[in-house]
């Protein structure tokens, strides 16, 4: 692994930095999950990014990308987090469905969906889980029943991120009604404003809208909106989950920037803070660096033609656990003020640590619980029996 950036990569970093400096909004946008206003503000930002050609730098130019490699993607992400740019409201589309379409979509599907995704014209939600199909995702019951050139979609999806305000969703449906488990599933795309779709937002533990449940009653979706072969849905979902847990969803720079902020907080509060917290601060920084070094190694391997394997599971465990430890350490440094909401009169500079801590607690749950990831590691990496 080459640990020195090339002149081209250095120049690329400077270009990204300059563009972000000129374009990142001066004040934080309202959160995208809480209100329509916040959601649309983020859509506007996605459009600004796309206009600059930064929608998804690794995609081919024809789909709105720049055809860059994964190391350049990491550099882009480093600068993105460093600049404190807004969260990517379309991450479900860009980081999950996008790569899946790229690998399994037809040329027509790619041309239809990818550029609109990169432009922020269509924001995506994920519709996989059901009340009875969480960790046991293969137990989905929602059906896609063939009717001429259409599917009729019926069922109840839940914990759909972004679905409260998004435009489209990618769902996992049982296309063979006689099938069970992993067989007979298909991945079908549908607009969230289609007749027969009802979206009901769900409040998170912090009271904000974070996800939604989606009810489908006879929703008509053309067969052309199915990705991959009929019955191939499970395979596609596992590929998507690999992207989700593996490389794209959580850039190391997210944690490196958070660790740098944590060190700053510690230094500001050093006089008041418990000195034993220095070890936890050091640890948080180390873990963020470990994750970054690991991702660089993985990216180098993928560039050389390797495939992402079970490391998507080890990654997911590692970043979710380091995130919690990092955020929790910040609360310890803040001391008694840690419980104060930012609007409390004496909150001072508590910042967003409490919010970030609460959100970190979701990490070991979404994208496949860490318990499931440990099963995957044990069975696929270590070869233990089911």
């Amino acid at each position: 692994m080459d640990l020195t950036y090339t002149a081209e990569q250095v120049a690329f970093r400077a270009e990204v930095r300059a563009w972000l400096k000129a374009h990142v909004p001066a004040s934080a946008l309202p959160p995208f999950d809480a209100t329509r206003e916040g959601f649309e503000a983020h859509r506007k930002w996605e459009r600004t990014l796309a206009a600059g050609g930064w929608g998804m730098v690794t995609w081919p130019r024809e789909y709105g990308g720049r055809g860059l490699d994964l190391i350049q993607w990491l550099i882009f992400e480093e600068e993105y987090y460093r600049a404190g740019a807004p969260g990517r409201v379309n991450q479900n589309g860009l980081f999950l469905l996008g790569p899946t379409l790229m690998e399994f979509g037809t040329p027509e599907q790619k041309a239809r969906f990818l550029p609109a995704m990169a432009r922020g014209d269509e924001i995506w939600a994920q519709a996989w889980s059901e009340p009875q199909a969480g960790s046991d995702l293969a137990a989905v019951r929602a059906t896609a029943q063939r009717d001429g050139d259409d599917y009729l979609l019926n069922g109840h999806k839940i914990w759909c991120s972004r679905a409260a305000f998004a435009d489209w969703a990618f769902g996992l449906f049982r296309s063979d009604p006689t099938s069970e488990g992993h067989k007979g599933l298909s991945l079908v795309l549908f607009p969230l404003d289609a007749p027969g779709v009802t979206v009901r937002p769900i409040a998170r533990l912090d009271g904000k809208v974070g996800f939604a449940e989606v009810f489908l009653e006879g929703v008509r979706a053309p067969v052309a909106q199915r990705i991959g072969e009929e019955g191939q849905g499970w395979k596609l979902c596992m590929a998507t989950a690999g992207f989700e847990r593996g490389l794209l969803l959580r850039s190391p720079s997210r944690y490196q920037v958070a660790a740098a902020k944590l060190v700053e907080l510690y230094q500001q509060q050093a006089e008041r803070a418990d000195p034993t917290l220095e070890a936890a601060v050091t640890r948080a920084w180390m873990d963020a660096e470990s994750y970054a070094l690991s991702i660089y190694a993985t990216a180098s391997r993928l560039i050389q033609g390797g495939k992402i394997g079970a490391e998507s599971s080890t990654n997911k465990i590692f970043w979710s656990e380091l995130d919690i430890a990092l955020q929790r350490t910040a609360l310890s440094i803040l001391g008694a003020r840690a419980e104060l909401l930012p609007q409390a009169p004496d909150a001072g500079d508590v910042g967003t640590w409490l919010d970030d801590y609460l959100f970190s607690l979701a990490g070991p749950i979404y994208a496949g619980t860490n318990e499931i990831q440990r099963n995957i590691i044990a069975e696929r990496m270590l070869g233990l029996p089911r």
């Binding site: 640990l3 180390m286 470990s290 590692f318 318990e371 099963n375 070869g383």
Partner: protein, 376 residues
């Protein structure tokens, strides 16, 4: 390439039966393994070509050291080939290159060559040092290293000569000229000694200024290769655990099918997966010799020794009472993990070095591969 050869050779030789035989005989060093490691030039991997070595880098040796950890190879190989050999070669070269050394105001030969007699004596001594370095690279002479960071010297009894520190200087002392007191370690293959010796101008290879930088470099190698052994050890512990839980049945099923057992081993594997890239990056940036690269070596040592310890403990746990027995090999790995944590800087020392890097150098994602900026 050399790592794969090393791995194969070590796993062929370091069988459970072999370890048990050495254990019963109270031996660590084994002539046959040593000869074979020498024959494929692994002993001289890091030594310069002038000494007959391969002049390979830390990136290459770290993989070999990892294989040694995996095999639980007893004896002085890693410290001899990875630390003492390169130190002797560097100290010897500095002494031989007296004229060059003189230019920067350091060096033994220059310092002593004020008379023709002394110059001849120095030349003879330098030839002897070069000769020993060449025999060490070929595996014909065993070296031990008494680094000031370690309270005791490993494998001093089988060494022909010991590298020792006095006021920063590097001294080379014949084993016959020192007094050894055995300090029994929990790791039966770690033969530690307290060394009593007297420094003299005849034993001195370098002055203090040069010596200190060589000792520092030796420390970084020692820590890096201890980390590499720990990583190998951690993986071996997991593999031993996996092998056992696949065959051991309780409640009518292999215990490896139960999630409590799976998760214990999977958690160690996660630690290993995230220690490995740190170790390899530390090796790749070894020659940077700055606050960043030193923190990375410390980072590798901390996370690899943690992985080794939790790995060995998980292996012990999943073996149940068998794991607590003398008969099953798990304890050998547990003890080696404990011993390696004590060598080449405790985790507390290494954590402090990392904290220093964090508090004194720039942070952020653009600094993952940074080097220290010197303002002249």
């Amino acid at each position: 390439m050399s790592a794969e050869v090393a791995r194969k050779l070590l796993m062929e030789h370091c069988t459970s039966a072999f370890l048990r035989k050495q254990l019963a005989a109270g031996l660590a060093h084994d002539d046959r393994i040593w000869r074979e490691l020498s024959e494929i030039s692994l002993v001289g991997m890091l030594m310069p070509e002038s000494a007959g070595g391969l002049a390979l880098s830390e990136v290459d040796f770290v993989l070999v050291a990892e294989a040694c950890g995996y095999a639980a190879l007893p004896g002085p190989f890693v410290e001899h080939a990875g630390v003492a050999g390169p130190l002797l070669a560097a100290a010897g070269a500095a002494a031989v290159g007296g004229a060059a050394a003189n230019a920067v105001g350091t060096g033994l030969a220059a310092a002593r060559a004020d008379t023709i007699v002394a110059r001849l004596a120095a030349a003879r001594a330098n030839t002897a040092v070069a000769g020993l370095a060449a025999r060490a690279a070929a595996g014909e002479a065993l070296l031990a290293i008494g680094h000031p960071a370690n309270p005791f010297v490993a494998d001093a009894d089988t060494a022909e000569a010991v590298l020792l520190e006095h006021k920063g200087e590097v001294h080379l002392v014949s084993r016959r000229a020192v007094r050894l007191t055995r300090e029994e370690s929990i790791d039966p293959f770690r033969r530690l000694f307290r060394i009593d010796w007297t420094a003299s101008p005849d034993t001195r290879l370098t002055n203090g200024a040069l010596g200190r930088s060589l000792w520092e470099e030796a420390f970084e190698r020692g820590a890096l290769f201890a980390a590499a052994q720990c990583l190998g050890l951690a993986q071996r512990a997991v593999d031993l655990g996996v092998e056992y839980v696949k065959s051991r049945k309780q409640f009518g099923k292999p215990i490896g099918s139960y999630q409590a057992v799976k998760h214990l081993l999977a958690s160690v594997q996660v630690k290993i997966e995230f220690a490995r890239p740190v170790l390899y990056a530390a090796a790749a940036r070894f020659s940077q010799h700055d606050c960043f690269s030193r923190a990375l070596i410390s980072h590798a040592k901390v996370v690899a020794s943690e992985a080794a310890e939790v790995g060995a403990r998980a292996a012990l746990q999943v073996h149940g009472a068998m794991g607590y027995s003398w008969e099953v090999d798990v304890h050998l790995f547990l003890k080696r993990a404990l011993a390696l944590e004590c060598a080449w800087g405790l985790s507390s020392f290494h954590r402090k070095r990392i904290t220093r890097r964090i508090l004194t150098q720039p942070l952020g994602p653009e600094h993952t591969f940074s080097r220290e900026q010197h303002h002249a």
